[in-house]
């Protein structure tokens, strides 16, 4: 079943939006969504790696021998992750410190390897580019949505460009539970439940 070019891009935004529809790559989702800024930063970094690795894997798909393909994909992905790491250290150092080990861990994010294996190794360059971009933007959207919920309930503020904006006013008692580890699991579980409710029609 051939999808149109547009569908290749938009499927990542709803039909296969990670991590809700494709339950992959949960670790960064849970870990960096303490604040919206972190969520967006992680999303953009992952999108960059996804797009670049998808394009490279797709253009090399006829050269890479089938037996060692996973190892090749991992090296390609690791290269782009190193690029992101170095660029962030140079230009966005505070964000790099906040995301910590989760930037190098994009290497083992199953979404990236999953798209290389399931999509880019079988499709042309342009389609792979759109697929990577779509899935990446979908991932960024999910991360920001989850981060917004957690930050709002956990602190009562939303931080954008390092300036906190009070949403609930000074009398709000924050649920500090939401910005800690347990809140991450519960919030993601409930959002998944909400997606199931909405998506069912």
């Amino acid at each position: 079943m051939a999808r149109s070019i547009v569908q290749e891009f938009t499927k990542g935004l709803w039909a296969e939006i990670p991590p809700f529809r494709l339950v992959l790559g949960l670790c960064p989702v849970l870990a960096v969504t303490k604040s919206v800024e972190n969520g967006i930063g992680m999303g953009v970094a992952t999108t960059f790696v996804l797009v670049c690795s998808n394009v490279l894997v797709s253009s090399l798909r006829k050269v890479i021998p089938a037996k060692v393909r996973i190892a090749c994909y991992i090296v390609i992905i690791a290269t782009f992750v190193t690029v992101v790491e170095l660029v962030m250290q140079a230009f966005a150092y505070p964000l790099f410190l906040k995301l910590g080990i989760f930037i190098p861990l994009i290497v083992v994010n199953c979404i990236v390897l999953g798209r290389s294996e399931a999509f880019a190794s079988k499709n042309g360059i342009f389609r792979s580019l759109l697929d990577g971009l779509g899935i990446g933007i979908g991932f960024t959207l999910s991360l920001s949505a989850l981060a917004a919920v957690r930050e709002l309930l956990g602190t009562g503020d939303l931080t954008i460009w390092e300036t906190p904006i009070q949403i609930f006013g000074p009398t709000f008692q924050p649920f500090s539970f939401m910005v800690e580890a347990p809140g991450a699991f519960v919030a993601l579980g409930l959002m998944l439940c909400l997606m199931n409710l909405v998506g069912k029609k």
Partner: protein
């Protein structure tokens, strides 16, 4: 010695890799539906994580730092882990077939388990010495196994319960993991 025991306790309980550090959650949700698979995964992780922790520590200290190649850490570590997993798989298949059959498909999956890569990076970032890195890797792996097996026990009970339809499967599993994480949260401040 006392320091090492404190380190071990904090890695197993307080900074539990699954429930407090959010690493390795894909296999946590993927293999916890049945007790059997959970035990298999836990064993495979203990086995590989200790070896990977030690080998990446050696790689980092004696090769990357000596040669000033720290920026290649991500690429080097993932290659070391991937080849280690492959090697362990071949070795077990030949010499300990019983263990190989027990670990089965969980071995290859470990390459993309971020707990392994994560612990290797934590060992470096915290600047542990060799002995500390060894103890930390082992304790993190034990903590992973502990949380995974506890969680599998809970999930087997959930199968018998009536769950509202939208919450079924992954959704209820995540909420349950949240509650489990809350219990581990209580260990904070113990050390």
């Amino acid at each position: 010695m006392g320091d090492l025991i404190v380190l071990a306790i904090s890695c197993i309980l307080i900074n539990n890799i699954l429930l407090a550090q959010y690493l390795g959650n894909c296999p946590f949700l993927g293999t916890s539906k049945k007790m059997e698979t959970a035990v298999g995964m836990a064993m495979a992780v203990v086995f590989v994580l200790v070896m990977a922790g030690v080998i990446t520590w050696i790689t980092n200290t004696y090769f990357l730092q000596k040669l000033g190649l720290e920026y290649l850490r991500t690429v080097a570590f993932i290659l070391v882990i991937a080849s280690l997993v492959q090697f362990v798989e071949m070795f077990l298949k030949k010499s300990i077939p019983a263990l190989y059959a027990g670990l089965g498909i969980f071995l290859p999956l470990i390459t993309t388990n971020c707990a392994v890569m994560g612990v290797c990076l934590i060992n470096i970032n915290e600047e542990y010495n060799f002995l500390q890195a060894l103890v930390a890797s082992f304790s993190y792996a034990v903590g992973f196994g502990l949380a995974l097996i506890l969680f599998a026990g809970v999930r087997e009970r959930i199968l018998l319960a009536r769950v509202p339809r939208p919450l079924q499967d992954t959704s209820i599993a995540l909420v349950t993991a949240g509650i489990l994480s809350l219990t581990f949260f209580a260990f904070k401040g113990m050390v």
